[in-house]
């Protein structure tokens, strides 16, 4: 079949172009866009109506003029050529190598949208991943196949935390194949360099695949980036039996690109101008984490997003939280106290923790200790708020103990070094040590047998 070239662009609206008099075009088709000066861009069909096609241009439309463009429809959607040789390589936001290395010879081409995993094929994520970070391992446990985002704000150390997780994450088993996939969407050069340098220093780069769309790269390309990354991840996980950790940062930039397109299409906006289908769209990214029955590999996702105005109810974190299996919240006030990692424990949550902890996985007392630490910390924080209004004197003796507990908790349990890799036993032992500040009778969430075994003996 000869593919026809069209010079019938009639409108350019934001990142979109509208062509007329086209024929045989299908929804979702990829297009080649050529300028007369030879510059090439790529697009995707967003809508076909009779002989009209609306195309989103990944590199944006700046500099385009209707008279100046030739468009070729490629008869297929956006595909990524995948191969095990992608490991150790760096690609741009369109999957082209940018590290000066040889081109990848694909084992196969895969449509980047993937197909939804059959819920019946899923295997429940229940293997504990030790990140070495107490607030995650002990309280918001990460398991293989989970999607656990970092909700952060601009200027907070989410990148350092994400890198620390990537560096330290291990499953308490050996001899398995790992890979890290890093997808940058609109982050700064410095931020991305931080990850690259860290991967290089630790040698992780050898088993990493990087997709880079930086702040000065085309915004609309960000819509493709997570899909490329996850297509590579699915290939490595399910066809090469690797355990893949995918870091996606920053989803806020992704959502902004989506909003830009929606606005250009004059769609009825949902909350704060984001499209009504933002939830569905995000789910097609996040739900690509998981495990499959009978397959060795897995995909674990750590998406990072910066909450506009630190507002958790903003549509991006809100809809993310509705899809992901929990969230780790990075807090500005705790950061201001000089605590790293500034994880706000109370609103953080790992929904899959219950299946990944306990006897044979971490330790039998883990669930109880976790619940007790939470409620004790919550009570201490409440008491502290009360003390702010009424003064210390208004607190009961027990409340004062709780206040002391919560201070110590932040200072010793939450705070840890950027290169401090605590085992789960160390984290739990620290938890018990802190619970030792409270009388035994306060430990209502812990079974007697565990208290007998672990509660610190006084004196």
């Amino acid at each position: 079949m000869i593919t026809k070239e069209y010079r019938t662009v009639k409108q350019i609206i934001g990142p979109l172009i509208l062509l007329e008099d086209v024929e045989g075009i299908t929804y979702g088709e990829l297009t080649d866009i050529k300028l007369t000066n030879g510059v090439a861009r790529r697009g995707r069909v967003l809508e076909v109506n009779g002989d009209k096609a609306l195309v989103q241009v990944f590199e944006g439309t700046s500099g385009l003029s209707p008279q100046d463009i030739k468009v070729k429809f490629l008869g297929k959607g956006l595909e990524l050529g995948v191969s095990q040789d992608m490991l150790g390589r760096v690609f741009d936001g369109f999957g082209r190598p940018i590290d000066g290395g040889a081109p990848i010879i694909p084992e196969k081409w895969l449509n980047v949208n993937g197909n939804p995993m059959n819920p019946y094929a899923r295997d429940y994520p229940n293997e504990f991943i030790q990140t070495g970070i107490s607030t995650i391992d002990a309280l918001n446990t990460l398991v293989r196949g989970q999607k656990l985002p970092l909700f952060s704000g601009s200027g907070l150390p989410h990148s350092r935390l994400a890198a620390q997780i990537a560096r330290q994450a291990t499953v308490l088993k050996t001899g398995e194949k790992f890979a890290v996939i890093f997808a940058a969407m609109g982050i700064t050069f410095e931020e991305s360099e931080f990850f690259v340098a860290d991967f290089q220093r630790t040698g992780a780069i050898e088993r990493a695949v990087l997709f880079m769309n930086l702040a000065d790269d085309p915004a609309i390309e960000r819509i493709a980036v997570p899909r490329l990354a996850l297509t590579a991840a699915e290939f490595l996980a399910y066809e090469k039996a690797m355990h893949v950790l995918v870091i996606l940062t920053d989803l806020t930039n992704y959502c902004e690109a989506l909003r830009e397109i929606s606005a250009a299409r004059k769609e009825v906006p949902g909350r704060r101008g984001y499209p009504g289908y933002l939830y569905t769209d995000l789910s097609t990214i996040y739900e690509r984490a998981g495990r499959i029955k009978g397959k060795t590999g897995s995909i674990t996702q750590i998406p990072v997003l910066t909450m506009p105005e630190d507002d958790k109810t903003h549509p991006i974190p809100d809809l993310t939280g509705y899809i992901t299996e929990g969230q780790v919240i990075i807090s500005r006030p705790i950061h201001a106290q000089g605590i790293y990692p500034p994880v706000d424990v109370l609103p953080s949550l790992s929904r899959l923790k219950d299946k990944g902890i306990g006897k044979g996985k971490t330790r039998d007392d883990h669930a109880n200790v976790m619940n007790q630490l939470y409620s004790a910390y919550a009570r201490g924080k409440n008491a502290k708020e009360l003390a702010v209004v009424l003064g210390e004197s208004a607190l009961s003796e027990t409340d004062i103990l709780y206040v002391k507990f919560s201070d110590a908790f932040e200072d010793r349990f939450v705070r840890q070094g950027e290169h401090e890799n605590r085992t789960i036993e160390e984290s739990l032992a620290l938890g018990w040590e802190l619970l030792g500040m409270l009388p035994r009778s306060e430990l209502k969430r812990i079974r007697d047998e565990y208290i007998d075994q672990y509660y610190p003996k006084k004196g």
Binding site: I25, T26, Y27, G28, E29, L46, E47, V48, N49, G50, D51, K76, G77, N111, G114, N115, P116, M117, N118, P119, Y120, A121, R122, D123, Y124, P125, E267, V268, G270, G276, Y277, Y279, T280, S283, E287, G290, K293, K295, T313, H314, D318, L319, G321, I323, E325, G326, Q327, P347, L352, D354, N371, Y374, S375, A378, V389, L390, S393, A394, L395, K444
Partner: protein, 586 residues
């Protein structure tokens, strides 16, 4: 004039517009494009037929054919539903996985009910019987828990001409009925268009409690068989856990669980757990009474819109057999969003927050399909269908359209509170804002059948919690020490109700389910402490020792007393009284 084929003229995401489908009707199923994707006509304007497509539409374009089927979107009903897991348009996900692999590919199609399975049909009706629609012709033991009733389909009333014991698959003839239109061969399958409710003889107000084993629900905000309830709350507040707990422990005979636009792993969780969990009544695996519909968030959005209807039609079918059925939908907000997305693509005039103007009537229409009913058929059997919908408001804001439309129609509101969830108080059902309009019905039932003090105890517990909230305001201003001794004792009692009674860990196998008997015993023990302590205080006892009794640790752990050891609650009360009596003389 009518045609059986048309042509695509427009594709925008899940919405396709076709021309030339003359004669096609609203909600008729069609096949779109060379790939023959599943779709449904949802709007007709002149010769433009708008179709929502249940599969990804990439690769579909103008000029491609659209084929009519002549049928409305319908589900297959018959033996084999139990233990199944379907997508939103009733494709069997287990079979798709077996035949097409781990990912759902387009054009994958398999019948909803297994044609290979051989069932034992045992006749109930006899040759010569006059039967009407809904009458039971015979039965099939579908699972250990479910005796499937093969009923006379709509429009097939008449005289039984032929019937007998049959072994065969669902397509095997089990009876012949002489109808006004001639003899009708009856097999074990019915089809029903999902957007239409299945008829009943009569609806009645609910009278029986739907118990859940969840203390805060059964005791404070109870549900009734045939009733409606909603569970709104921000993410992480516990909607899904509440829905799962209900699916596990509700005392209904059938459970239909609809995962509508939520997480894949949550369906896996049910699939993996239910075969191992035992129904408290029968001791059989819970899967033996469960049907699942799973259209997760990443699956096509139009099929998500349909999933709720698919689920409720299956649920109605079991209700028609005379069973008590509960349907959980998690989450109705995702269903509403699917409607919004399709409506946006249709360029309909948007209502509030972009939702279509008919949002309220669709939600009401869904909940209206609930009820405690006299079923179709001449034997007067009764069935019930209870509906419990999770609602996921953006940012937890209850003033948004889906919550508001839901609250206008449901009778029970379990409001989840993220503050409680942060403090790991689960279930995070806010006891001050939640309500149940079935309270009287359930009080009456429980007073009579369970414990004459049910209502009294419940009211006292509620009053204590409300008074606690008022006192807390005061404490915030003046501090705990400024409270009078009896108020401080009240605060203690309320705290015990919260922590030792309402708090319930779904993941602790001893705490996950509590029978009504144990619930009332536990609450009675706490109130017993309060009464004795108050009397002591009145007689001049000191407050502090009363607040610090060692026996209170036993009260805190009483929720773990085994169901077959309820006698321990009497001992506990005796010990409480003794401990208070033994305080240094006052």
């Amino acid at each position: 004039m009518s045609t059986d084929q048309g042509t695509v003229i427009k594709v925008s995401g899940p919405l396709v517009v076709a021309r030339g489908l003359t004669g096609a009707r609203m909600y008729e199923m069609v096949r779109v494009g060379e790939l023959k994707l599943f779709g449904e006509i949802i709007e007709i304007r002149g010769d433009d037929y708008s179709i929502q497509v249940y599969e990804e539409t990439e690769g579909i374009g103008p000029g491609q054919p659209v084929f009519r089927t002549g049928e409305a979107l319908a589900v297959e009903l018959g033996p084999g539903l139990i233990r199944s897991i379907y997508d939103g348009v009733q494709r069997p996900l287990d079979v798709l996985q077996r035949d097409f692999g781990d990912f759902i590919v387009r054009g994958a199609e398999r019948p909803a009910l297994d044609r290979a399975h051989v069932w034992d049909f045992v006749p109930v009706a006899n040759v010569g019987d006059r039967v009407e629609p809904g009458d039971v012709l015979g039965t099939v033991q579908e699972s250990k828990l479910v005796l499937h009733k093969i009923m006379v389909p709509q429009g097939k009333g008449g005289t039984v001409k032929k019937i007998g014991a049959v072994q065969g698959n669902i397509e095997t003839e089990v009876a012949v009925i002489e109808t006004a239109a001639g003899p009708a061969s009856i097999n074990m399958i019915q089809r029903w268009a999902v957007r239409e409710g299945r008829p009943v003889k009569r609806k009645m107000p609910p009278v029986d409690p739907l118990t859940t084993g969840q203390r805060v629900i059964d005791m404070l905000f109870p549900m009734a068989q045939g009733g409606t309830a909603c569970v709104p709350g921000p993410f992480g507040s516990g909607k899904t856990v509440v829905q799962h707990q209900l699916a596990k422990w509700a005392n209904t005979e059938i459970v239909v669980y609809v995962g509508c636009g939520e997480r894949g792993n949550e369906m896996t969780d049910v699939l993996m757990e239910f075969p191992h969990l035992k129904d408290p009544k029968s001791g059989e695996p819970l899967m033996e009474r469960t049907v699942m519909v799973a259209n997760t968030s990443n699956m096509p959005v139009a099929a998500r819109e349909a999933s709720v209807f698919t689920g409720i039609t299956i649920a109605e079918y079991f209700r028609d057999m005379g069973y008590s059925v509960a349907l959980m939908a998690d989450s109705t907000s995702r269903w509403a969003e699917a409607m919004r997305e399709i409506s946006g693509r249709l360029e309909e005039m948007p209502g509030e927050e972009g939702y279509p103007a008919y949002l309220g009537s669709r939600i009401a229409g869904f909940y209206e399909r609930s009820g405690y009913v006299v079923c179709q058929g001449s034997d007067g059997r009764q069935g019930s269908l209870s509906l419990i919908g999770a609602v996921s408001p953006p940012g937890g804001d209850l003033s948004e359209p889906v919550v508001q439309a839901t609250l206008r129609v449901v009778k029970v509101f379990w409001g989840l509170d993220d503050k409680l969830a942060f403090a790991r108080h689960f279930p995070a059902i806010n006891w001050l804002t939640s309500y149940s309009l079935y309270q009287e019905v359930v009080d009456r039932f429980c007073n009579e059948k369970l414990d004459p003090d049910w209502e009294k105890h419940r009211k006292r517990a509620m009053a204590l919690l409300q008074r606690e909230a008022e006192l807390e305001e005061l404490v915030r201003l003046v501090g705990m020490d400024a409270l009078a001794a009896d108020d401080r004792l009240l605060m203690q009692a309320a705290k015990m109700i919260r922590e030792d009674f309402l708090h319930q860990n779904a993941f602790d196998d001893r705490d996950s389910y509590t029978s009504l008997k144990k619930q009332i015993a536990l609450l009675a023990a706490i109130l017993h402490y309060y009464d004795d302590a108050r009397a002591a205080l009145g007689a001049g006892a000191e407050l502090n020792p009363l607040l610090k009794l060692e026996v209170l640790d036993d009260v805190a752990k009483a929720k773990l007393i085994a169901e077959d050891q309820l006698g321990q609650f009497d001992e506990l009360k005796t010990r409480i009284s003794a401990a208070i009596r033994d305080l240094p003389r006052y």
